[in-house]
Subunit: 406 residues, 2 copies
């Protein structure tokens, strides 16, 4: 008689965004006349840039002719894309990453979720708190997190690194030594980031204790300050301790196009076993490549026209971010983020919990955000707003938020 993976049954409740969806739908059904503005989910709204549309059309035409048709893609991704990534995202920033250390995939979420698979089940993970739920949930499913305490909303075998106003939302080195350290900067959900010097401390620490840093740099395109690293490989020694995840979702609006990549330097080893070889084996066995047309679209992100158009697109969203940040500051809210990231992290006023504030905003000003507690216990009393809406909706949402009197 077959049995299921019991670890799945340990996962508490439903996924954050489905709970939000249900609440919004219920309100909407009861109040069909109200215009709800969603500044909750991290999905983009601007259309794909013209250079990307052109590349897609061109690649589609290629697929329609026998001479230029493309079947299965190479395991690691097409060279034209890996070369463009190595050149623009790494070499141009002084990082020593070769094209064959880059694994093209259908997105950072899949890679962040799957990466734990190449590690031993008794490895201990450390995560920021609050945190992107995928890091923890994928380890729960694998059976690496121990037991869940519903009261504290924490797992017994996970090391939590609180990110609070007191530490500038930057984690401190953990007291207990982890094997795998998930870091995401610029951060989802807090919008905070760390300097190159701070990241160098993490790299030195990981090399010292023999840990691997799983570095999620999905939001690097939003960095505006000079001393913030775009890649962990800007730090010395990262080649022996860090895996980096990148996405095209937020810098190029690919949430519905699906493209990302993972970098595993060949120097990253456990004894003589290279993590690069293990991930290559996983890629070859359980994955079949990103679509050719999508990889051509990814290449266009690095073209001169693509770069110029996407710079404008990021600027559009960051203009929203500044509008939210400054508007809410003026209105007396406690806010952070929004400078190097499309996320604004807002303290719920008057000691309200995250969900109380969610309900209050939905019902009173018809604005939807994301309850910070959904990202972990240290997110309680916080609230995430995103800059991915249209400018018009963002302005209207901020105007409504300014009017509330609590």
């Amino acid at each position: 008689m077959f049995k299921v993976n019991d670890n799945y049954l340990k996962l508490p409740g439903s996924y954050l965004f489905s709970t939000i969806g249900k609440k919004v739908n219920a309100y909407s059904a009861a109040h069909p006349d109200k215009k709800i503005i969603r500044l909750g989910i991290g999905d983009v709204t601007q259309p794909l840039a013209p250079a990307i549309i052109d590349a897609l059309h061109g690649a589609v035409d290629e697929m329609g002719k026998a001479e230029t048709f493309h079947g299965y893609a190479p395991d690691l991704g097409y060279e034209f894309l890996r070369n463009a990534i190595a050149e623009n995202d790494y070499k141009a920033r002084g990082c020593d990453i070769a094209p064959d250390e880059i694994f093209v995939s259908d997105g950072a979420k899949c890679d962040c979720g799957n990466i734990q698979e190449i590690f031993s089940l008794d490895n201990k993970i450390a995560v920021c708190d609050p945190v992107y739920p995928v890091y923890v949930d994928s380890n729960v499913m694998a059976g690496r997190t121990g037991t869940y305490d519903p009261k504290s909303e924490t797992w017994s075998d996970v090391i939590y690194m609180p990110c609070l106003a007191e530490n500038g939302f930057a984690p401190e080195l953990p007291k207990e030594t982890p094997d795998l350290i998930y870091l995401c900067f610029p951060n989802n959900p807090t919008g905070a980031t760390i300097t190159k010097a701070q990241l160098q401390e993490w790299v030195d620490y990981a090399n010292k204790v023999g840990a691997v840093i799983l570095y999620d740099a999905a939001y690097e395109a939003y960095i505006s300050e000079p001393d913030v690293p775009h890649s962990i490989y800007e730090c010395e020694g990262a080649r022996t301790c860090a895996i980096e995840f990148r996405s095209f979702s937020k810098n190029a609006g690919f949430t519905g196009v699906r493209l990302g990549f993972t970098v595993i330097p060949k120097d990253l080893k456990s004894g003589d076993v290279s993590l690069h070889a293990l991930w290559a084996r996983r890629h070859g066995t359980k994955y079949n490549g990103a679509p050719y047309i999508v990889q051509r679209a990814g290449e266009a992100v690095y073209s001169a026209a693509g770069k110029a158009q996407l710079k404008e697109q990021v600027a559009y969203y960051m203009n929203n971010a500044h509008y939210i940040l400054n508007g809410l500051k003026e209105a007396g809210f406690t806010v952070s983020g929004g400078v190097n990231a499309p996320y604004i992290w807002l303290k719920a006023p008057n000691g309200m919990t995250s969900w109380e504030f969610f309900d209050y905003l939905l019902e009173n000003v018809n604005v939807v955000g994301t309850p910070g507690s959904g990202f972990g216990p240290s997110g309680e009393h916080y609230f995430r707003l995103t800059a991915f809406g249209s400018y018009e909706n963002t302005v209207e949402a901020v105007d409504r938020l300014k009017k509330i009197r609590l």
Copy 2:
């Protein structure tokens, strides 16, 4: 200090197709004047059909305008695609499958590789021998297969079901009871298939012993005989014991486009835990959907124009299959498959091993096939040819094969 997943280290050697690639490249480098014809890998060669190209262009245009831009796709896939699948692949064949039992993905390889994750690690798998390597390798990586015996090339905790000429390349019910049974019909690599009555026996058996059948129907479009089932849900009782994997790779040439789906009926349960819910949780946590433009391309597969064009495309490949099958029969080879599948299964002459025959063909007639032993011990002395080449190359390859005198 971090540790790797040791199970990965148990995997023997490199992936079958990379070994073939290396041998072909070496020969090609040494003999640059020779024209090598590849009838080895299962990749398609015909361009995408016009109806699909039109759908792709249309969807790309939508992505370029804010009003019709699509971000993150719904977790299970777009309704327009799931409705088309439910209607055409299931309802039209009398199968009771609802759109919300269909999970759209980026391909059957990923789903076949990932599905084992929702089952307990102590579940025992049964596989046909020979078999598509992904089923076994993904279970090795998870730690479900015991120890490897290099002599017999088998795993201690896997139940092998030999598929040989004696049983018409159809597996017999195993003596030891499995928890998970991988079946693939029409079969890769043998090209054999089973009748609806035979498949009904498997469904009855699985329901009796409490096993789940993981049914890979990636090649169903190639079925030409009337009593061969296109879906396992044509069998009574399959809703309580079977998961089905489908692909757009071979019926619509999507190997480089990436689209597939998995069906998990809501009646498939372990106690009160539904496998549908577990897979939905995995999908939601570790996957982010197939691209919108690709899902629109998938929808076009079911349009009137798409159906007509793809019928021709499948007929083109099956014409190749018949040419290979009949040509080799005439030449005195022992061959099977090629009637309901794009694969021809050929017995190596004169007691040669699969790899001996591979080397012989590469060196003497410059034709590349796939050694049957690469698919499992019972594939030894066999050889797989595929019908996915161009007609001209197929004819030339068969002419060359006819000339060999062993």
